[in-house]
Amino acid sequence: MAGFMQQIINGLSIGSVYALMAVGYSLVYSIMNFSNFAHGGVIMIGAYIGFFLLAAYKMPFYVAFALAGAGAGLLALIIERVAYSPLRKRKAPFLYFIISAMGASIFLENIVIATIGPTFKTYPKVFSTQPITVGSLSVGRLDLIMFVISAISLAILIFVIEKTKIGMAIRGTAYSVRASALMGVNTDHVIMIVFGLGGLLGGIAGMLFGMKYTVYPQIGFITIKSFIAAVFGGLGSLPGAVIGSVLLGIIETLTSGYLSSQFRDLIAFALLIVVLIVRPMGLMGKFTEDKA
């Protein structure tokens, strides 16, 4: 039983990593309707910014944290301007965005390898790595922090999207850029805000990831997991992204713990497909009958 509880804790901890990454990804998806594969690159750069600020410039954690978020947000904006905006202007189909995004992610990964170098970097210790133990269970401090930060940023995000005017404009633009423009929405701004926010979340995710694990050019790779988690939870739904992530984390740990770690991903994928067969729009995705 203690083993089981520990595995659940492990799952929650991995899940909250996926969740932080998935939220930013899902946000951009919900507006632009394409999978922003450059998000992994943004997360990675966020992690590096945080690392350098802490390790080389010895900044206080909160400053570094804010700057990593801001830097990644800025990067996301630049990517939007350079790689997507020209496509948007020409009304290219979403697949072209995906390719451009892949180009950007290849670029980001390799520019880091070529300049900073391929070796992984270790964050200086900010929080004690001593886990909090309750009986025979142990929870990492950083895990708790990540959990809290994901929850807070999600709550803020949902509030912004659902309750504010800019949120409404974001949702409107998500459906139709043209109609929103006719309503007086500066759609260019809205899209930039979305990318900025997505990048900001990515930067935060990257920095926390870096603190928990390490920083290296291939961090972006792990975002495939959060991509899967977002689909699992229902694309475009922010709470779905979080729930999908946490579930994926738990499924993965329980599979490794009780079934087979060799075939963990196989089993996780099989489960994913079963879920999608039963609920083709993911767990929290809205299923709307197509209206003719």
Partner: protein, 257 residues
């Protein structure tokens, strides 16, 4: 003989009953009008017939056979097809390609025939191209053959939708507001076209329209829906004189002039 029968059909969306206990029959070779206020459930009835929505209760018979529960394509293959209120063309294809694609049931050959380009393929393709050509002529689209569907003005898009629907040789054709976006003159031409289609293709039609001239001018029988319920049914004359219909749908003014 009835080609289509609705027996006590109900469709609910959550708490909303879009179609409630509706019964009606459509006689073969007739033109059946379906009218009613906005949101009365007319399009929903089309969606139920074509299998895009599933009925909540009741049954739909086509040529005496129950069709609810079938897939849309199966229903189409039985001989029911439609146009859409919100136009759904193959946007990036040309007019010709739109119709040619819809002609797919007119020629019969397998994948291997296609790969080998054998005689069968060639012969059947010719049939399909001929059919397309004929349809283009009847619908008056032949000189716009290569225009991409998305770039057509609204009115022509509607025409193309009808042409595409006819391409699959339907026995029952459902037209959802075919005259929307047409001016009175064009609507008049559409009426002629509908008569023409009936003559040439021997197809039964159900027409949803808010242009009363068209409905009154072409329909043998009309059913009026209101809030998902049948309000009245009868000939054009009967419907126009029906107090309830005037009150709920037509409005007074129309009757005075």
């Amino acid at each position: 003989m009835n080609i289509l029968e609705f027996n006590n059909v109900t469709k609910q969306f959550g708490g909303l009953t879009a179609v409630g206990n509706v019964d009606f029959q459509v006689a073969k070779d007739s033109i059946f009008g379906l009218i009613g206020p906005n949101g009365a459930g007319k399009t929903t009835i089309f969606n139920l017939i074509t299998g895009i929505y599933h009925v909540t209760e009741g049954e739909i018979l086509f040529e005496g056979k129950r069709i609810n529960g079938l897939q849309p394509y199966q229903i189409a293959q039985l001989g029911i097809t439609r146009t859409f209120q919100n136009i759904r063309l193959f946007k990036k294809l040309t007019i010709y390609e739109n119709i040619l694609t819809a002609c797919h049931e007119n020629g019969n050959y397998g994948i291997f025939d296609a790969i080998l380009r054998n005689g069968k393929y060639k012969k059947q393709e010719r049939i399909m191209h001929e059919k397309t050509q004929t349809l283009m002529e009847i619908m008056g689209l032949e000189d716009r053959k290569d225009i991409i569907a998305a770039n057509l003005p609204y009115g022509w898009q509607r025409r193309l939708e009808i042409a595409r629907a006819l391409a699959s040789n339907p026995k029952l054709l459902l037209l959802d507001e075919p005259a929307a976006g047409m001016n009175p003159d064009e609507t008049l031409k559409l009426m002629t076209l509908i008569h023409e289609i009936r003559k040439q293709f021997k197809v039964t039609m159900i027409v949803i329209e808010h242009h009363m001239d068209l409905i009154m001018g072409v329909c043998d029988k009309i059913m009026v829906l209101n809030f998902g319920q049948k309000l009245a049914e009868g000939t054009a004359q009967e419907i126009q004189e029906n107090k309830k219909v005037i009150e709920a749908y037509l409005g007074e003014e129309e009757m005075h002039c």
